[in-house]
Symmetry: C2
Subunit: 272 residues, 2 copies
């Protein structure tokens, strides 16, 4: 999917919501555990109930790998279901990968070709030659961790290098990489006040913003400091939406939560 | 496996070699492609031919994920084969994972419980709460990327923060994390001259050292600057060993390459 197609979907749906499909078998409605593939059945119901309210889905690979082969199979079925039934949806493999060049190419093939995601999150610690192999894929998007939503972000990301924080070095350096137009960045909603500075470095790039909801970030703050003319934001919510109910009404309850966020987003877009 | 058991194996085998099982279907002997599971058949033959010469195997997850479900299945079969037939071998999932706390716990479960690896590599960019969930597992080892073997290591890892390189900040900060005795570190062999400084910060910790062979690092240099009383090194070689031949003799050819490295290691250990 091109960035232009993503922007078009945001305008059509008046939503820049990404829903995190982080399926924990101990948290899903118990009645699903009797089905052959509880993870996929859960995702399918959530997707069918919420696809008109969001522009992206973001399965975090950890939740699938934890269940081994059947987890990976559920991930494969989920992305195939999305690509077949809702091709207008932007798909994000939240995998936080990164390795030396030839190995990063294998990861890129795994997520862009084998699973056919539109985008993948990557960690920047290993530098240019660990990220560029992902950037080489046309109409695919590589979402680099810049400033994450967790407390540990202050351990290294905000440390000063030559008077400039490490995450700003990541933003600036990454702009010089080949095919950098395929870059997006992760910036946590819990650090909305940093967005003014971030937008000075990357005025147009899309940001994937986790941390609204369960982690305490504010949608309004993120939009105030981070929104661009083309919106430039994908706000992710996972637990706050998908675990709204543990009953048989879980998908409808998720849709209610998603609708609330979508309506807040529509108000913000209408006021622009 | 405990660190003491690993040290014991190193002394018995006079080897601190880790063999990287980075299986690329375009590089393995063509006759294996007709088998039901070429990746596993390749690994099994390599393991059977080399297990007495090394103390560890390190599959890099990228090479398995790139083949989707059948790749993940081959990874599962490989680790099960190792645990059943060669329980004295230290196993490393080279996965370079890392995420916010509850998600890192899922990754830890994937590699330590579901797949039952002894260790996993993790990226430090997201800080303390992204690594500590791995450290909570008893007799499991978390191998943090410190100074990697690739060119991109110079993009961020060697940048100065308060007069000290980022990778040194990672080493020092990680020592304060809970259960830090379960930490090991990745330091590339291509940067052997940094090992003197590194040993001042972590005098005893085991280092996983990639980059000897294909990437140009020197075994002698790494040992000169990085070896401890308990050896403290796992030297990894992947392509240099496993792709020694594309013929039917591939496993024997791999054993010859592994034997050469093991003999060099034995000489170094005997000279200690």
């Amino acid at each position: 999917m091109t960035t232009e197609q993503l922007i078009e979907q945001i305008k059509i749906k008046k939503s820049f919501l990404a829903i995190g499909l982080d399926v924990d078998l101990s948290k899903i409605p118990p009645h699903l555990l009797d089905t052959e593939d509880p993870i996929f059945e859960f995702n399918k119901a959530i997707i069918d109930a919420t696809h008109h309210l969001c522009v992206a889905y973001k399965p975090n690979t950890a939740f699938y790998e934890a269940y081994g082969l059947k987890g990976w199979k559920a991930l494969e079925k989920t992305i195939n279901y999305l690509n077949e039934n809702y091709p207008e949806i932007f798909t994000i493999a939240d995998a936080k990968r990164g390795d030396i060049g030839n190995t990063s190419t294998m990861y890129a093939k795994a997520f862009f070709e084998d699973l056919a995601f539109d985008s993948v999150t990557v960690a920047p610690y290993m530098g240019k030659d660990s990220v560029e192999p992902f950037l080489a894929f046309k109409d695919k998007h590589t979402i680099v961790l810049a400033l994450t939503s967790n407390q540990g972000a202050f351990d290294f990301q905000t440390k000063l290098v030559d008077g400039k924080e490490v995450y700003k070095q990541v933003l600036e350096t990454s702009k010089t990489w080949e095919n950098s137009e395929n870059l997006m960045y992760v910036v946590g909603a819990t650090k909305a006040e940093y967005l003014t500075d971030i937008r000075k470095i990357i005025p147009e790039s899309f940001l994937l913003v986790p941390g609204v909801g369960a982690q305490g970030g504010s949608l309004q703050e993120v939009c105030k400091y981070g929104m661009t003319q083309n919106v430039g934001l994908l706000i992710n919510s996972s637990r706050g939406i998908i675990y709204a109910s543990q009953g048989k009404d879980f998908a409808e309850a998720a849709a209610v939560k998603a609708k609330t966020l979508q309506q807040d987003m529509a108000s913000i877009l209408n006021a622009q």
